[in-house]
């Protein structure tokens, strides 16, 4: 028998017996086993142990195993899965938020569009250009006009506002349309 110090590591012999070595290592161990009875015996012992372990037979499932497994999976499948619940809630929430955002954006767009389309005739040159031709005196500077002409123009502007109702939805227009500022003058006039 060879001296023990020339034998291979037991872990390597175990790996050989269980075919866990790469081909190169396996052939190296095979070559060693050809000349080492002690290592051959170790490998045989691992293989015998493996055969002994085979005696512990597997257990077959009970006849009702399949039915129970199916029932558990079926009950899970019929219940609403958590991920789809989350998905659905998320999708609903996203749809509501998207719709709300669309309403806000379209409202702002509409209001801005109207604001840029509508220009009060008294404030812009284009408004006066599109207005019906006025007598020459009405185009003179406001300071040079008589009180009757100014009052007539104010009435006409007010009537234009009433005839063009959408302008009342314009926040900027409403903010600038300070009706109350006219009241003291009216009161003053009535007092006079």
């Amino acid at each position: 028998m060879k001296p023990h110090n020339t034998c291979m590591e037991r872990e390597q012999l175990f790996a050989y017996a269980h075919r866990m070595l790469d081909p190169q290592e396996e052939s190296r161990v095979s070559a060693h086993l050809a000349s080492c009875a002690e290592c051959r015996e170790s490998v045989s012992a691992y293989r015998r142990l493996n055969e002994v372990l085979d005696e512990w037979k597997p257990v077959t499932p009970s006849p009702w195993f399949d039915a129970r497994a199916r029932a558990r999976v079926r009950s899970q499948a019929s219940a609403r899965p958590a991920f789809s619940l989350w998905g659905l809630a998320w999708a609903r929430w996203a749809a509501v938020m998207t719709a709300a955002a669309l309403v806000v954006v379209s409202s702002i767009w509409l209001l801005r569009g109207r604001a840029t389309r509508y220009e009060p005739p008294a404030r812009t040159a284009t408004a006066s250009a599109s207005a019906p031709p006025q007598p020459a005196r009405s185009q003179s500077a406001p300071g040079t006009e008589g009180p009757a002409v100014v009052q007539q123009r104010a009435v006409k502007q007010e009537m234009d506002l009433y005839n063009n109702l959408p302008v009342l939805e314009n926040y900027d227009m409403l903010a600038n349309f300070d009706v109350l500022s006219e009241l003291p003058q009216a009161e003053d006039k009535s007092n006079d």
Partner: protein, 193 residues
């Protein structure tokens, strides 16, 4: 007719194919029940755990990655369940047993290892000796031996199941078989019990 691979079946299960799930159930019910019986001994608990594995596979079907082998995934779920069941039982049965680094109890096992009436009918004396030898192994060694020897899972896959290196699995298996060799010496010498 070609047999569908686990991967193909699982991809179909992902798409809602109940028949493919049924095929997986038929294919793996025996290996799983056997695995759990060997791990936890209690047959009723073993069947319950095996059903739980199928349920979890179904629940997690959308998270299954085709890159991973189906059996690796299956046995990882099964092993986690088995180890949790063993820990729960150990906590219920025993007042805190001190363990060494490998999980071997320092104090003598106080779990009743006497065979139940059912086991007496089912197991021969030799089988009982083998079972007790394997049950005496530390947790990870036991998992490695059962997966390697009885479930025919190769050591590379065992490494993935246990999330350790391949060389660690080889070493784990070596130590486990050395322990078994010592404990099962009467059977190895060819003696009848």
């Amino acid at each position: 007719m070609a047999i569908d691979s686990d991967l193909e079946l699982m991809l179909r299960v992902q798409n809602g194919d109940a028949e493919s799930f049924e095929l997986l159930l038929n294919r793996y019910r025996l290996p799983l029940v056997s695995y759990f019986v060997r791990m936890v001994r209690d047959r009723a608990l073993a069947e319950d755990l095996a059903q739980e594995v199928f349920l979890r596979v179904y629940q997690a079907r959308q998270r299954y990655q085709p890159e991973a082998r189906f059996t690796t995934w299956l046995y990882r779920i099964a092993t986690n369940l088995a180890l949790n069941a063993l820990r729960d039982r150990k906590a219920d049965d025993a007042p805190a047993l001190e363990e060494d680094d490998e999980g071997v109890p320092r104090v003598a096992r106080i779990v009743d290892s006497r065979p139940t009436a059912e086991e007496q009918l089912m197991l021969s004396d030799r089988e009982r000796l083998i079972r007790e030898a394997i049950e005496s192994l530390p947790e990870k060694q036991r998992v490695a031996v059962i997966l390697h020897k009885y479930q025919e899972v190769d050591y590379r896959q065992i490494a993935k199941v246990l999330e350790v290196s391949e060389s660690a699995v080889k070493s784990l298996l070596f130590r486990a078989y050395e322990n078994l060799r010592t404990r099962l010496q009467p059977l190895l010498q060819g003696g009848q019990l």
